[in-house]
Subunit: 340 residues, 4 copies
């Protein structure tokens, strides 16, 4: 393989722009050579900014023999089909989460990837965050001892538009999916979930058939327990914390802040709000993620987040939704075609 | 009523000693004039220390016309009977939690108290803690806005002896009962609970029929949700935290520490562990609690923790245990004779 | 000596009240049996509150054979004379700081104390604070290694009235004297000081011949260096911090707060201001101080703050004032009659 | 001017590498086209890494008409001469601090720059740090009110080799010069300094004629006061903090850390040490600095750190050294040829 690795970018929206910036600024062994987006204006804007070819036809990427790998940053409904086309074209794949909302299509994509023998990494960016990596390091080093309790707090600063909510797959599939992956990243496989949820932030979200606030309890196969709590709106900003409790102690990670200042005034002691949202908070994680993808392709190592990981988080989201609907704990094995 | 209020102390064990010290040092309008304990040595030790009469017969207190009120600090199985005797003797009552493990007996005691028209306050000391009082103040002042999520973390530094576990009523009745009361203190009435638990700290606790680690989710009547997580053993000390999340923001309270020092050395940045256990952490709360009891008697105001509050926390403990046993969410209204 | 130790209290003002409360509530082996104040109303108020004799004539204390020890809490100009009278009457002495503004009178008092062989402890309450004791413990345990730099921040929430400023002896003698003692408590003897100061808070303080803001650098005999910074007005409350830097690391202690709550809202992250002033911050230290005084009398051990310590802090205040006036570093040995 | 701006890099050592990385990764409007270093191996390594021309002769940069601006990252003794050659060649200049150890040569360089009318920015990177920028923002917004006291703590994790100490110009010129600039950045011009110092970390530093630990007090022209404390060795890492106290409150900034984790274990509560040294701590500041340089050239705006700023910090270092040697406060106006 000739370096730098040549990448085709599918999707010039927000997350595509994030990855393009990261690749350009921080990943020495790769460069994006073409961008495709169904919206020509989006493709043109990104292409012009980085001085690369752009168009609206995905075949311009899949059919380009110079391109080694693709970054699938388009809408969720295109993920599985693009993964299959990329696999068939022999190109390595980085695909944003979720892979798909349908397990059957995920399995088709997985089969295509396995048949082609290409790398396929799923975009669980939080696995590359300095804080969460440290928690995992502490767990793996045995510092926490036997794992007893995991608590994940994950809240967005503001809800997306109702139009997005309607096509998002719902809070569990769109938002908590990151936390399900984090739970597996830290504590391993889940056996059962129980979900509580409601539309507390905005009744319109409830009318759209979704919840905006949820608590899910997790029972892990290793016997540990956990909770995830999500809200679509924390007025103080993006709230991303994890606490792990075990036989030898507890490790927690708190939010990141734009600076360390504190003001001590007559009215109280005031400091910064957390970094506003995922672009601010996870910018370094996105860079690390792109480096990790390029590394696993270049060095032929295992992807740090596999299609299997992507599938499991979808299964957990489905189980949580079923639990919420049926008002009972749901075993992960109840979800159709879950491999045990 | 002549001041100082004269108190009879039933039970000279650890918590009796705590209250005796608080009354003596910090409560101007009351004094303990007699202590009774089934163990004569215990009664003598406390009586001698404070220069007051002591004996082993509760009637020495119930039959003493000079005594205005009693502090019931004896073992749980004596609480209801002592409450009834005190009520019949026209004495005001402070009783440690839990009132009883049996709802029928609680109701008998409640009836006796109501018939006698005496004050009866239950010892939920955490309601008088500087941190939790502040959380409630913030909620009541509307600072948090609509209540969405409550998270209570409550862990002991070390488990009690197995012999105690066996008679304790179990983790929900003995330990989480404080957190159930805190949940009601902050968020109001509970509608449903779901419990996870296991013997992770010590298998012997499991063999004794109890769990040592538990997570309970709560659905409140006002639509809010919450979690309580308990462990019998946090190796870093007593972990007592609360986080309240709502439409206008979040308020949390952290642990208390013996001092504010931090050491920055070649091996890391190290600071104190939290105050070790309830005696260290809640000493001021116990003082405030005794003042509040004396105040409500002297000024004829409502008790800040009523027999009803004591009863409700027992109901919640029963519901949590039922949930754990039946592996399903349990409505509070399922618990026999729960008044709705 | 018969216990409890019987104490005569000279001065029923604020600090006298603090000690009376501490003795009554927390010191088992001593009780105050008489209070004297030049203002009869003050003496009466305190006497009535604690049920003890009161009057306006100090001789009622010095001439009372039942009294074992005196607490000198009257105005600074009476300290030395009362110390001498107490010593001559064979009574042990606790005296508030400063001993006097005049070294000659301090030396007279010291001679009287030594001649009588009574205990005499000076009221440097901060030596008994949980935070500063921890710093000293860390230093003495060798955790910080060789001592390099001491930084003391000490600011009051609001300046006293100008009328008080005029008789206070000035900022160095009235306020920084506590910090000079803390510097000696932690780092040992001082060799040289250099002072900067100004009337930044209130020009009237400058017109009264004093400064309200000052920085003093210290050179210690052990080669270490330090700074003290004082302000008469920190609008956020009482600011009492220490930082010690050495060859093996740094230890710092921060302020104490009324509770641990933090509120995360749309306008920022807000927490409590420090405890407002010395009564709130050092209440436990005052209790510890009184216990320590009674202990050193009862057990005939060395006072934890001696007349020598009281004298040294006055010498340092004089040196700092001289430095400010002469705009140059001043050796402590320059101060008349300083014993080297 | 054609974009991107073409830069010549003088000096391929550590700081040259930092700037090269920043320009390449984060500064869209500039690129380095040639690197020169007296050590051919250094020039080659950097040139090869970035795919640019390299050589050992500075004239290859000064004589290259394509180059718009130079980055002077060579040893201090070359700064002034390179500034003059760059100015004469009509090239804009970014020069690392200090400009020179000799005021006469600084003035010659300044004259050349002014005559040529080129931009010349001095490398005070801390002016671009997220924390210190926030402090300045708070001051300028009036949040702190009138400025009373500045406290700067600045400690390196480990001392440089003695060979470097000998040519460094000493602690005041080499290390505290950053803090002198920070003091002026935040509080304005200085009127007088007083310095304490010693060789506490390593006697060999004292034998080399330098100190490794120092405290300097500052009197500002606006009446405020301040302290700077430096150490060549903080075993816990790079310690970079500022505290500003004024009539309306205090603002402080603390260290940055690699992550937010805390571990609560049986032996204590442990968290990360600060980011190790300037490359870790100030990496973002270096990027901001390079952007600011390119911006001021491209947009023809005032440099955010001028040659005058560079000169003043040298004057303050000289005054501090003089104070240390003469053991007295030194007015800045005493330093020869200081323009008032």
């Amino acid at each position: 393989m000739n370096l730098p690795l040549k990448l085709g970018l599918l999707g010039a929206g927000r997350i595509g722009q994030v990855h393009a910036a990261a690749i350009t600024a921080d990943v020495r062994d790769a460069k994006i050579t073409r961008v495709v987006d169904v919206y020509e204006a989006s493709a043109e804007a990104l292409g012009t900014q980085y001085g690369i070819s752009y168009s609206t036809d995905p075949q311009d990427i899949f059919g380009d023999d110079e391109i080694d790998a693709v970054l699938i940053c388009s809408s969720t409904d295109t993920h599985a089909a693009f993964m299959i086309r990329a696999a068939e074209a022999g190109k390595h794949i980085f695909c944003e989460k979720p892979v798909d909302h349908d397990l059957g299509r995920i399995d088709e994509a997985l089969a295509a990837v396995e048949k082609a023998g290409v790398k396929c990494m799923i975009g669980f960016n939080r696995r590359f965050d300095h804080n969460f990596m440290k928690v995992r390091e502490m767990i793996n080093a045995g510092r926490v001892g036997d794992l007893h309790v995991l608590q994940i707090t994950s809240r967005d600063p503001a809800p997306p538009p109702i139009s997005y909510i309607k096509v998002s797959g719902g809070l569990f599939m769109d938002m908590m999916i990151h936390d399900f992956d984090m739970a597996r990243f830290l504590f391993g496989e889940v056996e059962e979930v129980y979900a509580l949820g409601g539309a507390m932030v905005d009744p319109a979200i409830g009318e759209a058939g979704d919840v905006d606030t949820a608590i899910v309890t997790l029972t892990f196969k290793n016997g540990a327990m956990g909770t995830i709590n999500n809200s679509r709106q924390a007025v103080y900003g993006y709230d991303q914390r994890v606490e792990v409790f075990g036989s030898k102690g507890m490790v927690d990670v708190k939010n990141d802040y734009p600076n360390t200042h504190t003001f001590y005034g007559a009215d109280g002691v005031v400091s910064e709000k957390p970094l506003y949202f995922f672009l601010e908070r996870y910018m370094d994680a996105y860079k690390n993620e792109m480096k990790a993808f390029v590394d696993c392709v270049v060095n032929d190592t295992t992807e740090p987040a596999t299609v299997h990981d992507g599938r499991e988080s979808v299964v957990l989201a489905m189980a949580a939704l079923k639990s919420l609907q049926e008002k009972r704990p749901v075993k992960i094995s109840e979800i159709a075609s879950y491999p045990d």
